[in-house]
């Protein structure tokens, strides 16, 4: 199993190729091929996970050369360790669920085959990213994931908002990749390799100066900022909700956005070597988390709420990993690493479930606005139940999976009081906005009877995945129960294995916070004991800011995009007029040009393509008029030049007198030419 693990990404790739080139015209076949591929991948992944557990987490590396140069060796390879194995299962499992779910969800769309081919391509990319054994390869798949995300967000490209969102996602990610690439190059330069293990070995040897390492770590983290939608590059994620909902579930909740966190976990040795960089990471994480949570409080679009929730949760994980790095650099032991990766896994399941549930709702009522919904619990039982399970899980209610992982994250903030307070605050808000969503959607009276009337439970292809995911949303956390020997923390860890001691106090605190959040939501949106409107009016300025997402999009638009475009247009003008103009000598001659225009307009307009430059044309025009047509003038020039040459060679000073004399006399006699009034006819042509 392990030895063939490199095959896992190729199953979906094969499916992609087959669908694109052969079965594109047959939706059914395409669908089955895609699902079969991912299911095989799932089985294989489970096999890998079991094998990995069996060998107690001993990693395995397989390498093939890609491009080999004296100073740089690029390889493709596979690195399987517990983290990889877990991620493989998560990815393939969520993928399987989403693909099966999509059969129902995408039914009737004209481009179903293409949809599945994209999903397969995405799965390939994500799996490749997971198994990569070096930074070069992770970058490759990193980009491919971005591409598929672009394709899938813009799947309904006729919608301008969808195609805009796809573009925004790609470009924003590219900004992050900019830093990522520089980080990789720094490592490549100082470590001479991009292989994870070799790089880590170099770092542990202390071969890389610490300042450089900090810079490299921050640069690498830029990539994660882009991919995992961290502040300030989080703006693409909410927009990405324009894509089909299964896509949101798979890519923008469970897997791709987790890639950033995964990368940070994977490269923890780099980050943990620099306390400063780790602190930056932690701060970015908490800012993101807090900001997204606050925004999520007031959004009305069901998917957007979930999107900001995702953002917030990812920030949570990032913060945990960052704090781990800080502690590690100070030689403390912390649960941050384990917490972050653990939450990564559990979040994948319940967030996928939430999105799929939301998809199911949208499928039923054809709207995203939660104020149009209400009371759906009667019509959509499975959906309602699974959605509540997921919500409880994300809120961190015992004993659902979210409880265990979230608990560890808060535990990771021990020693960082500010972080801890904020983390608890976020936990409170998370519980509140999730249940705001739940209550508004599923309970109470239907607010839009028309929509309610048409609503119905989704087909089985959609509900079975929900059930499967709900199962895992409940149970997945149990592998990480702190009292459980050989659990997740003994399987996935960084550095040396540490025993850690669970804190009941923290568990209690977090549970209280979560419950109070739920209760508040219950009061406001179910019992209506507190008026939501009144609350809003009370905090109107704050609400407006939050509702408009802190105006970050607008700020980007006016501070970055518009100026860039204006600059680009300016440069184009510069290119067309100044640089080119220099060549054409347009500059000051343009002015002269207009005076002389009527005189030789004919020549120029007449297609005298003036690549040489107008200067030469003007000179040509001047030189031409020396040719007066009077033969004696020609003779005069002959003798005057001959004399001039001789005088110049003998006495250069004399030559200037001579030249001056000739010119002065010439001008004087030109002016005194009274008796002959034939003006030189400038327009007369030379043709006889």
């Amino acid at each position: 199993m392990l030895e063939t693990s490199y095959l896992i990404p190729f199953y979906p790739l094969l499916a992609f190729a087959v669908i694109i080139f052969f079965t594109r015209w047959n939706e059914k076949v395409s669908t089955y091929i895609s699902i079969a591929a991912v299911l095989i991948g799932l089985l294989h992944s489970i096999g890998v996970l079991i094998a990995m557990i069996a060998r107690h987490g001993t990693p395995l590396e397989m390498i093939a050369p890609f491009v080999v140069h004296p100073q740089l060796k690029l390889e493709v390879g596979v690195w399987i360790d517990p983290l990889t194995a877990v991620m493989l299962v998560v990815v393939t499992f969520v993928s399987s669920c989403v693909q099966i779910y999509s059969i129902g969800y995408m039914h009737g769309d004209p481009r179903v085959s293409r949809f599945f081919s994209y999903l397969s391509l995405f799965t390939f990319s994500m799996l490749g990213l997971v198994v990569a054994n070096n930074f070069f390869m992770i970058f490759i798949f990193w980009e491919l994931v971005g591409l598929t995300s672009y394709l899938l967000i813009g799947f309904w490209f006729e919608k301008k908002s969808a195609s805009d969102a796809g573009k925004k996602a790609f470009i924003t990610n590219r900004v992050g990749d900019f830093g990522f690439l520089i980080g990789i190059m720094l490592l490549a330069f100082y470590a001479g390799t991009v292989n994870y293990q070799e790089v880590f070995a170099k770092i542990n040897e202390g071969a890389i100066p610490s300042g450089i390492l900090s810079v490299a770590a921050v640069c690498l983290f830029c990539g994660a900022v882009g991919k995992s939608a961290q502040f300030p590059l989080h703006v693409w994620l909410p927009d990405a909700m324009e894509g089909p909902t299964p896509v949101s579930a798979l890519i923008h909740a469970a897997t791709m956005v987790a890639a950033g966190v995964y990368m940070v976990a994977r490269g923890m040795t780099v980050f943990s070597a620099s306390a400063e960089a780790s602190m930056v990471i932690a701060i970015i994480g908490i800012i993101t988390s807090l900001m997204a949570a606050t925004i999520a409080l007031v959004q009305n679009d069901i998917k957007r709420v979930l999107a900001y929730s995702t953002c917030s949760q990812l920030g949570y994980m990032v913060m945990a990993l960052g704090l781990y790095g800080v502690d590690y650099a100070h030689h403390h032991h912390s649960v941050g690493y384990y917490a972050g990766t653990f939450h990564l896994m559990t979040h994948a399941f319940f967030k996928a479930l939430l999105f799929l549930g939301a998809g199911s709702v949208i499928h039923a009522v054809h709207t995203n606005d939660i104020w149009e919904m209400g009371g759906l619990k009667g019509k959509m039982r499975v959906t309602t139940v699974t959605f509540f399970i997921a919500s409880l899980s994300i809120a961190g209610i015992f004993p659902l999976s979210g409880f265990w992982s979230k608990d560890e994250i808060i535990a990771a903030t021990v020693g960082h009081p500010v972080f801890m307070v904020l983390a608890l605050l976020i936990a409170f808000m998370t519980a509140f906005y999730m249940f705001r969503l739940c209550f508004l959607t599923f309970t109470g009276e239907p607010r839009n009877q028309d929509k309610y009337h048409h609503a119905h439970e989704s087909p089985k292809t959609m509900t079975y995945p929900l059930i499967a995911l709900a199962f895992l949303s409940i149970t997945a956390g149990w592998v990480g129960i702190p009292w459980f020997e050989n659990g997740f923390s003994h399987f996935v860890y960084h550095g040396e294995l540490h025993e850690h001691h669970p804190s009941l106090l923290i568990m209690f605190a977090s549970t209280v916070v979560a419950l109070s959040g739920i209760y508040l939501a219950y009061l406001v949106y179910h019992k209506k004991a507190i008026s939501a409107d009144a609350l809003r009016m009370r905090f109107l300025p704050l609400h407006t800011v939050l509702y408009n997402k802190y105006y970050i999009d607008e700020i980007y638009e006016y501070l970055i995009i518009q100026p860039t475009m204006a600059f680009a247009r300016g440069l184009w003008w510069f290119d067309a007029h100044i640089i080119d103009g220099l060549v054409n000598f347009t500059g000051w001659l343009t002015v002269k040009w207009s005076d002389l225009k009527q005189l030789f307009d004919v020549y120029i307009v007449d297609g005298a393509v003036n690549g040489v430059g107008r200067l030469f044309m003007v000179l040509s025009w001047i030189f031409r008029y020396f040719q007066t047509g009077r033969v004696q003038f020609y003779a005069l020039v002959v003798v005057a030049s001959a004399v001039g040459v001789v005088i110049f060679k003998v006495t250069p000073e004399g030559f200037y007198y001579y030249l001056g004399g000739v010119l002065v006399i010439a001008f004087v006699s030109l002016f005194l030419r009274q008796n002959r009034s034939e003006e030189v006819d400038l327009t007369r042509q030379s043709e006889g």
Partner: protein, 100 residues
């Protein structure tokens, strides 16, 4: 003494040159040209006498110059006739169809 002859030639040449440059009558120009050729001949003969008297190269050269000048005068006068036929005048200033 040689300088005196050379100076005479130079003056004559300059005068002829002036004539060519300024006369408006085509025949006048031809006459001025003859002055220039004569100046050259004075030069040649002078040099022959004072610099290289052993061989009469200068004088022979001068003879050839006389003949060539005659030939040029002949052709020149023929062209002047043509000029007269085409323009009904031989004012050089007016003969400038071709220019620029």
């Amino acid at each position: 003494m040689m300088m005196a002859y050379l100076a005479l030639a130079a003056i004559l040449f300059s005068i002829g040159m002036f004539g060519v440059l300024t006369r408006r009558n085509a025949v006048g120009i031809l006459m001025s040209l003859e002055l220039m050729f004569n100046a050259v001949n004075i030069n040649l003969v002078t040099f022959n006498k004072f610099v290289a008297p052993e061989v009469l190269t200068g004088q022979i050269f001068a003879v050839f110059v006389v003949v060539v000048a005659a030939a040029e005068a002949v052709v020149g006068l023929a062209i002047v006739l043509l000029l007269y036929r085409n323009w009904q005048g031989i004012d050089i200033d007016k003969i400038n169809i071709m220019k620029w």
